[in-house]
Amino acid sequence: MTTLLHRRHTAPGLNELIESAPRERASLCDDHRRSLAARFRAIASVDHRRLDAWMVEQAGKSGGGFRWSPSTARRTLGNAALRRLTHETNLSMIEAVNDELMDQLLRAAAGHARRGTLAWWLAGISHAELGLVSAEAVNWATQLVEIARSLDFEWKVSSSDAYYDVARARTTLRGRRDLEIVRDDARVIVRLRSGSPGKSAGPGLRSDLTIETLAHPDGLAPARMIGIWPEAGVCLSVDGTMDDLRSGARDLVRTAVVQQRAKTSIAA
């Protein structure tokens, strides 16, 4: 049985979700990792596979190719700006976002940005377009800081997403995370999402939970993974139990199978 909870997104509701996170957590050992790798290896693939919660939610359907836009750039810039703001408290949110933009532009000007990276894309757009990118990033970072400030617990902005390379299976798993709350020795992970949660939001959250656990050096699951949809005013959460981890792993494997079948049918 999995542990999906649905709450309205209010400050007391969110704090209660963190407070009530279970103390006992599951962990993934080497046997679990080997078993998962064997399942991924069984799905033959020529190309390198990259899987994340979004693909699980889309049931393995591949959308159009990725392209940078104000909406796709906002999370990277917004989270970086909030990280900067926690160190440089005298900055305003707009200044922190503009400083991040400036860093990216300097990287591109110095020739350190590869084609297709955020810095490379930002270097090619106009002043007005940069303004819009800044507005989107400010929206994201403000939403995140509003959530963080409503917490009764210590929090930090995640320094990066969780990545896990499945051994000899040409597969990389990516789990998104925005805020980390550590209480006692348990950690709660918060993800900020756009739009409204669909029917597959639970499997998406469980996939993030599984990837987060796999990426942990000791394979320790977070006590709870919370997804917040501020546009809809809704929170969903799943606990770091073995059932949820197994369910997340199954969804990831199933997504890889669906993707592989789609590729095979195109080739046929």
Binding site: T10, S69, V97, N98, S126, A128, G131, L132, S150, A232
Partner: protein, 265 residues
């Protein structure tokens, strides 16, 4: 005897949040009551039947009688509205806008990718495009002159979307607030909503202001301090303090709009 009245605000943004010391405590209890009113009202209209597609209520659903024609909803009117909104987004993050039409168009193209309105824009001939550029520039200048600087410490965010599912998803309330300032985590009410319209203000604008406050209350569970609307056609700004009565009125307007929708469908 000389009477001194309080000085009128110098700019729209100053009027938006008013006197800091007069702000009431944040109301975090009204939202659940409003939700019940809406759920009960929707049950009376829809009963137990589940519509094949959800009824979507937007600010435009409340703005006017469906039998009347509003020229601001024509493709050109909508394009003008979108472009002026892009100017507001740029101003909200402190960008100095010197060529409003060109800059707004660049920002919109980057944001929208492909859309029906962009296709309509691309079909305009040079005369129509020139007229649109003049129109957008005039509206934007009114906005730039009246808005004033948006202080960064007020946490401005632009084009804030909200979606509320009611009655198990049978009714969806959708809204986009052009500019929002203030914090929902503050102990006093400090969130102010600012809507920009390129039409003259009328009864519909008042309903839209109330609708913004209602959806924001349902979304965040915190009642905003104030809801305002600014017309770039006339330079007029209306502002209302948000209270339970205003929110209840908007809930009833949503239910009336839903009733009209179900009758017409």
């Amino acid at each position: 005897m000389t009477l001194l009245t309080s000085p009128s605000p110098r700019c729209a943004i100053e009027a938006l949040r008013g006197e800091r010391t007069l702000r009431p405590l944040a109301d975090t209890t009204t939202a659940s009551g409003l939700r019940s009113v809406l759920e009960d009202g929707i049950y009376q209209i829809l009963g137990t039947s589940k519509p094949p597609a959800p009824h979507v209520v937007r600010a435009s659903s409340l703005r006017q009688n469906p039998q009347t024609t509003d020229i601001s909803l024509s493709p050109l009117g909508r394009i003008r509205g979108v472009l002026v909104n892009q100017v507001l987004r740029l101003l909200s993050v402190g960008v100095k806008v010197e060529r409003p039409f060109d800059e707004a168009l660049l920002a919109w193209r980057l944001d929208a990718g492909t859309s029906e309105l962009l296709t309509s824009l691309d079909r305009l001939d040079s005369d129509e495009m020139a007229r649109l550029a003049t129109d957008v520039t005039a509206h934007s200048i009114t906005l730039i002159r009246s808005l004033g600087d948006v202080p960064a410490r007020w946490l401005p965010r632009s084009s804030v979307r909200a979606t509320q599912l009611l009655s198990g998803g049978s009714v969806i309330l959708r809204d986009v607030i052009d500019l929002m300032v203030g914090s929902t985590s503050s102990p006093v009410a400090s969130v102010a909503l600012f809507d920009v319209t390129t039409s003259p203000l009328g009864e519909g604008a008042e309903r839209t202001m109330r609708y913004h406050a209602l959806v924001q209350t349902l979304r965040s569970s915190v009642v905003p301090l104030r809801t305002s609307t600014f017309s770039t056609a006339t330079g007029e700004m209306w502002s209302l303090d948000v209270d339970a009565e205003l929110l209840l009125r908007s809930a009833n307007e949503v239910l009336s709009a839903l009733e009209s929708m179900t009758k017409s469908s």
